[in-house]
Structures are given as structure tokens and as C-alpha cells.
Subunit: 309 residues, 2 copies
């Protein structure tokens, strides 16, 4: 499918792409670069690629596809550095969780003849680093591409086909709209998960060991989300500020209403909301974006554990 794919950044997402490409034989050569020698060595030990270089300008040379898989705050510097070394006709893409900022940070540096097509797979786990990835991460998940005006259709199709080969469904969205959708489906949920875990961490009336001990009542599931990579998420909030602020404003307004309902004992309002939210989950399961396996009891995981899987 591609001759040489260059990956810059080889954490959860980069290493999952490398594994998926290898497993499905979608490129002749995978070249890997990352920030630290330590991670580069680890990637080599794991056999994720065919060549490794700490210098990104070296790995992009002759690559017909370059995918930036680093936190979005690092994009501008990476873009500036690699731009002069990109091959004419190459596709430059990425996987960043924010898209308008990525266009602003990269587009000015992209040389003529290079096809710049931003992307974002809606798939992930709370783990990070090169060990965390797996080839099936994108299988059955959506990948959003946010091509800019005048994007070469051939290049777009080639990139789309790669994600389809990973098992993803591909959706084309405007970058600004992407950022709004992700603010509510991902960024604000992460922010409030981080927030409640932070709140629980510095209470005086309840000890930390009690929080940990009795976390199975719901809190645990927030800590899972709040265990995601700090650097990646810092960059998401720094670069999608406007949409996050807007959605957070809506969330806070609604929370004030709910707080009033609790204060004044408005059981009807509470039950109405709790019934409505139940239906949304049903829709998500019906849309194939979730399994129906009950998970609070974690008995599925437990069974897996016991069987040694």
C-alpha cells in the first residue's frame, strides 16, 4: 500500500499504527523517530519498525507517508523541522486529538507538492508508551479526517484506505466542527474525570485510603479516564480552549440546575434526567460503539484474569 511510512512519536497510537501496518502488511518499510533515545530503544526491542532514528528529518526522507503521533503541542516544532525534507508527492498526516490547531501549526510549513491531511482515530486506552499499543486498537472504531480545501482526492483516498485496512470507518469533517464534537465527547469528559479525582484527593473528611477502598461504587471508572497521559491531555486543553470552554460552560449551567434539584428535593426532575440518559446509552450500544457487557462488577475482566489472558 505504501513504500515507506515514517512515524514520529511511538507511544500508544504510533505503536498501534506500526503494529497494524506490520500485521496487515501495508508498507514495505516503517521508519520510526521519537523524542527520547529510551523510547526509541524500546521501540526497537519491541521490533515495531524497520529503521529507527532520533532525528525526524532522517526518517521522513523518501517516505511516501508521514504520520505525526506526538502530543499536539510538539507539532509546530516537528513540522518546521521535517518540512524541508519531505518528499514531493508524500502524504503528511497525524493522529492528534485536536484539529484546528494542528492545521494552524502545520499548514504554513508544508511544502508545495506534499499532501497535508490531518486525521484523528477515535480509539485509545488509558495507557501510554510503545508497550501500550496493539494492532486491533482501531478495528471497528471511527477515524476522522479533516482535509483542508483543495486537498488532492487521490491522496485522500490512499490515506482513507489505510484506515479502512486497519478496520476503521472513516468520516470526513471540518476541523473546527471536529473540535466542537470532540470537546463534548472526549475533552470535557476527561476534564471532569481529572477534576473529581483531584477533588477526592484533597478532602479532609474522607481519607485517601477510604476513597481507594470504596472506589468500586463509580469513582473507579473516573480514575481510569483520569489515568490518561498528562502531557497529551495538557496539550489538548491548551490547543482546544475555545470549544472546551464553551462545552464546559454548558456542563456547568446544567450542573447548577441539577444541584438545585438535589437541594430542593425535586425527585421528578432527577428521575426524568436519569431516564433520558439511559436511552442515550442504548443508542451507543445499538450503534456498535459499545458492548452490552456489564462492567461495573468487572466480572468480565476477572474471568479474563483467571484464565490468564
Amino acid at each position: 500500500m505504501f513504500e515507506k511510512v515514517a512515524l514520529i512519536g511511538i507511544g500508544l497510537i504510533g505503536s498501534s499504527i506500526a503494529r497494524a501496518i506490520k500485521e496487515k502488511n501495508l508498507a514495505d518499510h516503517i521508519a520510526i523517530s521519537t523524542r527520547s533515545q529510551k523510547t526509541l530503544d524500546r521501540a526497537k526491542e519491541l521490533g515495531l519498525g524497520d529503521s529507527y532514528n532520533i532525528d525526524p528529518t532522517e526518517v521522513v526522507r523518501d517516505a511516501d507517508l508521514v504520520i505525526i503521533c506526538a502530543p499536539v503541542g510538539a507539532y509546530e516544532a516537528i513540522g518546521k523541522q521535517i518540512a524541508p525534507h519531505l518528499k514531493t508527492g508524500a502524504i503528511l498526516s497525524d493522529v492528534g486529538s485536536v484539529k484546528e490547531h494542528v492545521v494552524k501549526a502545520l499548514e504554513p510549513h508544508v511544502p508545495d507538492g506534499v499532501h497535508f491531511i490531518p486525521g484523528h482515530p477515535i480509539a485509545g486506552t488509558e495507557n501510554s508508551g510503545p508497550e501500550a499499543g496493539f494492532a486491533s486498537l482501531f478495528d471497528g472504531k471511527w477515524c476522522i479526517l479533516t482535509p483542508i480545501e483543495g486537498t488532492d482526492q487521490d491522496a485522500l483516498h490512499r490515506l482513507r484506505d489505510l484506515w479502512v485496512a486497519f478496520g476503521s470507518d472513516v468520516e470526513i469533517l471540518d476541523a473546527k466542527h471536529h473540535d466542537m464534537v470532540l470537546a463534548i465527547t472526549s475533552h470535557v469528559p476527561h476534564l471532569i474525570a481529572y477534576n473529581i479525582v483531584g477533588t477526592a484527593d484533597h478532602l479532609e473528611s474522607v481519607t485517601k485510603s477510604e476513597v481507594i477502598k470504596f472506589s468500586a461504587g463509580g469513582f473507579r471508572d473516573f480514575t481510569r479516564i483520569a489515568a490518561s497521559d498528562p502531557e497529551m491531555w495538557r496539550d489538548v486543553f491548551l490547543t482546544n480552549r475555545e470549544a472546551v470552554m464553551e462545552m464546559l460552560g454548558r456542563f456547568s449551567e446544567d450542573l447548577s440546575m441539577l444541584q438545585r434539584a438535589v437541594r430542593f428535593g425535586d425527585g421528578e426532575m432527577l428521575e426524568e434526567l436519569f431516564t433520558r440518559t439511559r436511552n442515550i446509552r442504548r443508542s451507543i450500544i445499538d450503534a456498535g460503539q459499545e458492548t452490552d457487557v456489564p462492567d461495573f462488577g468487572r466480572h468480565v475482566s476477572a474471568v479474563e484474569d483467571e484464565s490468564g489472558a
Copy 2:
């Protein structure tokens, strides 16, 4: 262990208790009552008990252990109704998610010679009804008992031993403190999960189908929590108002700080919080309250699904 156990309410928790008692042979007879004939018939079809009666006064007759497994808002009426029919020496317990209110609602009705010991298993799933239960739900989970002053130690030990037989670790807490701990580890997390799902449901800038489609970025995990039983959760918020309001106040204060950090681009503050919250998750895994299986990608569930489990 017991001669006759009476269960009033046979949803997720009640039916899990019935299944655990049967599986481990912990009582000679399980008598079941619930609000609706429909659920009672379903419990019978599922073979959850040995006798069934819509009238709770009938099932508690001669029972040496009665466990109320209904939403806490129904407790007072149930307590009044069954009290005159409780056997001397019997233990009256429950599983309600709130404890101070339960003591207030039940204690005045408990006849002399009956041992009233409130309880709360910290285990559950987002599903409800008699089909949702399973015998291993309490295995490896905590169960909190909140005995009132002067509780008979023999009775307390008998009840504790039952939960231990279910596989639970038992902790004794003061009812008021229980409500504070659960407000932060369970009630407020549920409230904010319900809230964000509600917010997403009535946006104009992002369609409901987009929210559903791209829910795998984090939102999905909130819908799981926000799919819990509306009646049960309504009652929790109506009966643990004070502690919920206090913890919600703390949450909102912290969220305002976080909002400022986003607005002013304070990356250091964000990264510091995101790093701190990561450590709490580590502690929860170390405490055995969570498995280390990455779950956002839901590949564990997917594997289970494929194997037909």
C-alpha cells in the same frame, strides 16, 4: 447458616444475593417479595427463591434474616408494614446506598428483640432487574455495615459471616461517615455522569448522532454510569442531600480553578493535576479494586464477545 432468608425487592442486588445464597448453600429457604407481580413472576421463572409472595408481611414471617433490597425511598413504608411481623431474634438488614436516612426511616419501627443492622455492598453494575444479578457480584468487593449503638455482637457476626461467605471484605463504619465517603466515591460521580450525558443530549452545535458515533473518546464511559437505575438514583440524591451538596460544592470549586487554568493556558497546573490523578489509579489497582486491563479500546469485551461468552 440461616434457616429462612427473606428478600424484599429482587432487582440487581436482591437477585445477586439470592443467587449467592443458593450457590453457596447458605440458607434452607429463600422467600421473595417485591412491588410488582410481574417482577415476582420473573423471579419465580428464574428460580431465584423457594417461595414468593407479593405481600412482604408473609415472607418475613419466621425469617431469621430479612434483607430489604429496594430503592431507599421505599424503606419507611416497607419498615412500617413488616415490623409487626418480624420474628424475635431475627436480623433486619438492607443493601441501600445511603445509610443515615435508612437508620432514620427504619429504626423507629424495629420491634424489641429484632437486630437491626444496616448494610451496603460496594458492588454493582449499570444494569437492573432480577435478570441482571449474578452470584459472584460481591466476590472480592467491600461490604460496609453501619450498626447502631448497642448492636448485639452475635447478630453482627452472623451477618458479617454471610457477606464473607459471598466473598466480600466487611468494614464497619458510622452511618454518617459512610454517607460522606459514598458521596464522593459514588454519588457525585454518578451525578456528574448523568449531567454530562444530559448536556450532550441537548446541544445545538453537535448532533446527537455525532455524539453517539464518536462516543469512544471517553463519553461512552460516562453513559455506562448514567445508565444506572433512575428510581434507585433519584432516591439516593433525595436521601443523601447534605453530603452530596457538600461534595458537589468541592467539585464545583475545583472545576472553576481548572476552567481558569484552561482559559489562561496554565499548562503547568494542568499537567500537575493530570499527573497526580494518575497515581490514584495506580493505588486503586494495587488495592485490588480494579484490574489493569486497558478498557477504553474495549478489546477485552470484544474478545469475550467473539468467543461467545
